[in-house]
């Protein structure tokens, strides 16, 4: 068999790989021991099982690789790659799974209960993700362990909790791409495929047009890079649209609030680098399109006014910006995704569903009311109102909800 290694090199590499495999099996076993502890929150049972399953799979794989290593004609490149993959999977469980299981506080319990209730309210067609409040970087979702990370103090404030809907959007996109996704999730996966085709078509047209114009050779390369980045951006855009279509204007307000606090550029920093997030301006535009699709035209206008006031002094777009994020494409994405979410049976927000006339208990009503209160009251009055609402919300989420969720019907 052809091999990039000499015979004596093969022996050395094999011995080293075997040592690496044994080390990683031991690590996975130790990590499994860290999972074996009583759960304080029933909501974390799913995460515990997932972490255990991933570790079992990695131990099984590593044992299989050890057997393969012993074979005369083993493919050492292949084995090394598989070992690296197992190491990364074990690390993900260690960094983004077990740490969450070892830190079970009342805040974690509350946030998990909150996400569970949101999932019920919006008819999420999949298990809700788990939540950990150990984030050191705002809200984010880890797709392997399926954990949403939230900053420590977030459960004592309402204005950024709308971001939970965005993270749930990430989780549903990951679930819909699984091979065993059910029919409702497959509708979402199909919509994503259609949307990526529309994005590709847009950039193909731009490149063809540039080629006809005989412009600088660099421009098609820039468009190809932007198209490649869109593969990452699409996930963000769709999670934004998901949050708007399930929660309403509160998510757009939350985004505006975050940009006011920490954004360094609402347009785009660089086109040639590998940017993981789309421009905040384009994200806001797709949110406004989505709001208009579900009857929140007035709210969209109010948000747009505030947004323009906020951003007009910050930055300005460059020559490629409007081609990279055309309005027509953003609008098509919002429309296509709305139809898919409807077909998937997800409860789409409406003026009526977030009306304050609704009985107390709807999370989306409370989060929407928070933004109304924020804009209409003085800061101290708002904080007083918010504190009272959080106390009510915590009562609502606590044990009765958990018991009903897990008791046999």
């Amino acid at each position: 068999m052809y091999s990039p290694f000499q015979a004596n090199e093969r022996t050395i590499v094999k011995e080293y790989l075997e040592a690496l495999i044994v080390e990683q099996i031991n690590r996975a076993v130790i990590l499994k021991g860290l999972i074996d502890q009583p759960l304080k929150s029933p909501y974390l049972g799913q995460l515990s099982e997932r972490c255990n399953n991933i570790l079992d799979d990695q131990i099984g794989l590593l044992n299989h690789l050890r057997t393969q290593l012993a074979a005369q004609e083993s493919d050492l490149r292949w084995i090394h790659r598989k070992v690296r993959m197992a190491i990364t999977n074990i690390s993900v469980v260690e960094y983004y799974g077990i740490s969450s299981l070892r830190y079970q506080t009342d805040e974690v319990d509350f946030l998990n209960g909150l996400v569970f209730k949101i999932a019920q309210e919006i008819s999420l067609p999949t298990n809700p993700p788990s939540v950990s409040c150990m984030s050191n970087n705002y809200f984010y979702f880890e797709p392997i362990t399926r954990v949403i990370y939230v900053p420590q103090a977030e459960c004592d404030f309402l204005l950024h909790l709308p971001d939970l809907y965005h993270e749930i959007g990430h989780s549903i996109l990951i679930s819909s791409a699984e091979g065993f996704a059910g029919p409702k999730l497959r509708v979402i996966a199909k919509a994503e495929e259609d949307i990526v085709s529309a994005v590709t078509q847009h950039f193909r047209s731009l490149i063809q047009e540039e080629s006809r114009n005989l412009g600088p050779k660099e421009i098609p390369v820039i468009f190809a890079r932007i198209h490649a980045n869109w593969k990452s951006w699409l996930n963000e855009f769709l999670s934004d649209v998901f949050a708007i279509l399930t929660l309403g204007p509160a998510f757009a307000w939350s985004h505006l609030h975050l940009v006011a606090k920490i954004s360094d550029n609402v347009y785009q920093g660089s086109w040639l680098s590998n940017e993981s997030h789309p421009a905040n301006e384009a994200r806001m535009r797709i949110m406004l399109h989505s709001l208009q699709l579900v009857g929140f035209e007035n709210e969209a206008d109010s948000i747009k006014t505030r947004w323009l006031q906020l951003t007009k002094t910050l930055d300005s777009p460059d020559a490629y910006y409007w081609q990279a994020y055309p309005d027509s494409l953003l609008s098509t994405i919002a429309k296509t995704f709305l139809e898919a979410l409807k077909k998937a049976g997800i409860s789409i927000v409406s003026q009526e569903s977030i009306s304050r006339d609704k009985p107390v208990g709807s999370i989306r009503t409370i989060l929407s009311a928070a933004w109304e209160a924020f804009w209409s009251t003085k800061p101290e009055e708002y904080r007083e109102w918010e504190t009272m609402q959080i106390a009510n919300l915590k009562k609502l989420i606590q044990l009765p909800q958990r018991m009903s969720a897990f008791s046999p019907s």
Binding site: Y140, T200, I207, E236, S239
Partner: protein, 136 residues
């Protein structure tokens, strides 16, 4: 606003594609493929999910695939095979055509090309993972 979620999603998707690609390479290396035609077709498909977008990028086209960061993977391959990049591209394109035609008689040299692609995808996964952890 943080980059973690976007990077983690890309990592997850690329890593899953690599896992399936490697599973297929293991199957195609064995003799079982000669007996089980249906399984061979399925495994070939897993290889092509990675190779087709790379071929499209090599031919200066844009790929629709969300399964692999073809643009970055091609960049990594280009850096690793710079002295004879054009010849390497030709060999790769020929191999993709061969596999797409369900010809699974893979030579040792062609197997190395498949390993090159998998190694480049593995590098992309590690880069994404390091960026997720803020280590790049």
């Amino acid at each position: 606003m943080g980059n973690f979620g976007a990077l983690a999603s890309r990592y997850y998707t690329n890593a899953r594609s690599l896992e399936e690609f490697d599973e297929a390479l293991e199957f195609l290396r064995g003799r079982a493929q000669y007996a089980d035609k249906e399984r061979t077709t399925k495994e070939l498909q897993k290889v092509l999910v990675v190779l087709e977008p790379i071929k499209e990028t090599l031919s200066q086209d844009l790929s629709d695939s969300l399964m692999v960061d073809d643009f970055d993977v091609v960049d990594i391959l280009r850096q690793r095979h710079m002295p004879d990049w054009q010849a390497y591209q030709d060999r790769m394109t020929k191999l993709v055509r061969k596999l797409a035609a369900a010809d699974t008689a893979i030579s040792p040299e062609e197997r190395e090309i498949l390993n090159d692609v998998a190694d480049a995808l593995d590098t992309q996964c590690i880069r994404l993972f390091k960026r997720m952890s803020g280590r790049s």
